[in-house]
């Protein structure tokens, strides 16, 4: 039985949740003695009114698209992959190894190579939790959390003891060769007369992220594998009855999820930092959870939610620069979005459902 029209489920509930999160965030800003309206204006001005602001917004959004898609693919199989952060870290390691140790003649080939490296390393990091869930029944949430910490320790070790150039103090790898540097939006869209996206890190990976959105849409809604993944997520016993092997789906879904998380490394490590640094994922793996929940696990929703969070990230940086509001405000907003769209979903849904049921009764009666 449909309790609610589809548009209400897809559009209205996320919007109301977002408004609730925004109200609480505004109250938080008020409580620390700043004006929410002014803060919002500063965020819009810094993130959207200049092309360099857009350059940052789109750069962050690219990261979130990858991690958001990763979380949503796993969600479709009813798996909660909290390990995006670790998978992204390993993906960055894959990018770094490919860029450091293979002499690429041209960036386009390097991009291809690093994308494969990122996806392979990210998928590999998701494989062990996936295998343990599929074959031994170990809860994937716990194992992926543990793998985040193990990834952080591993990256820390590699950067301090192995990849750090001799004599350098900072735990970071050497800079990648110039031939591997990806075209930035500045070099792609600036003309003789005007410089666009000046100094911003947005790069060609954004388009790869868009392609990834289309790929995930085709995979989930237009392929046999996607049908199997969704069946598994809808009802494991039903899927099993239809001859779909649960452990196979768990492993494949997690491999795709890990590969997508890992791809974030192409944007952050090859596109922006141009070397491997400590904590290169910058928490984007976790934001993927908020993005997937807000985007209702649909690639288009993920894209919109990623743009929103890209805006929040860049706007938050502007706030931290011009006001006394620290960057951590964004973490609060992110927490509220996860809380309202994820955990308190029913708080918004139940009243709406009864509202629509009442409307329908009135129409019929």
């Amino acid at each position: 039985m449909d309790r609610m029209p589809a548009w209400a489920d897809v559009v209205l509930i996320p919007l109301i949740s977002l408004v609730l999160a925004a109200i609480l965030s505004a109250l938080a800003i008020l409580a620390i003695g700043e004006s929410p309206a002014e803060a919002f204006y500063l965020m819009v001005d810094g993130a959207l009114m200049r092309s360099s602001g857009w350059g940052y917004t789109l750069y962050y959004a690219t990261n979130f698209i990858f991690t958001g898609l990763a979380v949503s693919v796993a969600f479709h199989a009813k798996l909660f992959n909290i390990g995006g952060e670790g998978q992204a870290a390993l993906g960055s390691l894959g990018v770094a190894l490919v860029c450091l140790y293979i002499p690429w003649p041209h960036w386009s080939l390097a991009l291809l190579g690093s994308a494969v490296g990122a996806a392979a390393f990210g998928a590999l990091w998701a494989l062990i939790p996936a295998y343990l869930q599929a074959k031994r029944g170990s809860h994937i949430v716990i194992t992926t959390i543990m793998f985040n910490f193990i990834a952080a320790a591993l990256l820390n070790y590699l950067l301090v003891n192995v990849l750090r150039p001799v004599g350098a103090m900072e735990p970071a790898s050497a800079s990648f060769a110039a031939a591997t540097h990806l075209p930035t939006f500045q070099s792609m869209f600036s003309s003789e007369g005007s410089t666009l996206f000046r100094g911003s890190p947005a790069n060609i990976s954004f388009f790869i992220a868009l392609i990834a959105c289309v790929f995930v849409w085709l995979l989930i809604w237009r392929s046999k594998l996607g049908y199997e993944i969704r069946s598994q997520g809808f009802s494991e016993s039903g899927a099993k009855y239809a001859g779909i092997s649960p452990s196979r789906i768990i492993i494949i879904a997690m491999l795709i999820s890990g590969a997508l998380s890992g791809m974030m490394g192409v944007n952050a490590t090859q596109g922006a930092a141009e070397r491997l640094i400590l904590n290169s994922a910058e928490g984007a793996g976790f934001i993927g959870i908020a993005v997937a929940l807000m985007g209702r696990n649909h690639p288009f929703g993920v894209l919109l939610a990623s743009l929103l969070f890209g805006f929040l990230y860049q706007g938050g940086a502007e706030l931290a620069m011009w006001t006394s509001i620290p960057r951590e405000l964004i973490i609060v907003i992110q927490a509220l979005v996860i809380l309202f769209t994820g955990a308190l979903d029913n708080m918004v849904r139940w009243p709406l459902e009864s509202l629509f049921a009442g409307l329908r009764r009135r129409k019929e009666g």
């Binding site: 193990i150 070790y157 609060v332 992110q334």
Partner: protein, 320 residues
């Protein structure tokens, strides 16, 4: 390694194991009642911040402790409302609470103290180290004296409270009617409901207990182990406690040994950095990751199966 070094390592094991123990017991109560709690970290973090800041402003560490417990309780209640009342996803709620804590503490700390997300140093407004009776007199007795003086005596009161919580938890879970019902509600809530006992009330009381214990853990971090709050000061301890809970297979005495084992790992990593074992150097990062690796091994079922409470994570829907 002489006795003195050994005692120092064990002493710091107790100090570092205590917050893990408190959080682990918090998780134990919650998960035994069928509510999965990833938010241990966040609850301890808000408790750490509010205990330190209220202790600093009032100059009274006990008031700080109460404030810490209250703050942790607020997060517990949000978790309860989300996962019990609105039958939301408990994992997602826990994740959200951890982020909420990590953002809010810095936001408020910056607003109140303006020191980049930390509280001013507490100085003397902390839980003092207690000297147990006869510790000074016995100190000169060989072996027993130093063990009693250095290892058993000389901790803050919260350490002794944490250790007393272990037999208390055991007694409550296995020797009281409340404990029996609590365990039943985590295994088969429908049966409890049929017996005419409120599932919702039982689960909420478990969550309240978890809130108090996480409050103690956070306050211990900020007002006993260290002298003030710093950004992200729980540093993943909530997740290690979660790992310890699995390691302990959701049982109180095993929780004590698991948390002390993980405390020992932290103490060794803190003291020795890279360990040289006859040519093979164990890097400090490996020691830091060891609790997580051990948990994966346990979860993989290579050392006996770890079966969580059966109804864990499922919201209870009363039959209609």
């Amino acid at each position: 390694m002489d006795l003195n070094t050994l005692l120092q390592v064990l002493d710091s094991t107790v100090r570092l194991g205590t917050p893990l123990l408190l959080m682990c017991l918090a998780g134990l109560f919650s998960e035994r009642a069928g509510i999965v709690d990833i938010g241990l970290e966040g609850k301890a973090l808000v408790a750490a911040f509010f205990s330190a800041s209220i202790a600093y402003t009032t100059g009274l560490v006990w008031i700080g402790l109460l404030a810490g417990i209250a703050a942790s309780m607020v997060l517990s209640m949000i978790h309860g409302i989300a996962s019990i009342t609105f039958r939301g996803n408990q994992l997602i709620s826990g994740v959200a609470l951890n982020f909420l804590a990590s953002g809010l503490t810095v936001l408020i700390a910056q607003d109140w103290f303006g020191q980049g997300g930390r509280t001013p140093s507490l100085g003397d407004v902390r839980f003092p180290a207690l000297t147990l009776p006869f510790a000074d007199a016995l100190r000169s007795v060989p072996v027993i004296g130093p063990i009693y003086y250095d290892l058993i005596s000389g901790h803050s009161i919260l350490v002794y409270v944490a250790f007393l919580c272990v037999p208390l938890t055991w007694w409550v879970l296995y020797r009281t009617r409340f404990g029996l019902r609590l365990r039943a509600v985590g295994e088969n809530p429908a049966a409890v409901d049929t017996a005419g006992i409120s599932v919702v009330r039982l689960r909420f009381s478990a969550i309240v207990i978890a809130g108090v214990l996480c409050g103690l853990a956070g306050s211990y971090l900020a007002t006993a182990l260290q002298a003030g709050f710093v950004k992200e000061m729980t540093a993943g301890r909530g997740y290690i406690a979660l790992a310890a809970l699995i390691f302990a297979k959701w049982r109180p005495w095993y929780a004590l040994s698991a948390t002390m084992l993980f405390g020992l790992l932290q103490a060794v990593a803190l003291r020795y950095q890279n360990i040289d074992l006859g040519g093979v150097v164990i890097p400090v990062q490996f020691m830091n990751a060891l609790p997580y690796i051990l948990t994966i091994v346990i979860l993989a079922g290579f050392v006996g199966a770890a079966n969580p409470p059966r109804a864990g994570g499922d919201p209870y829907v009363k039959e209609r």
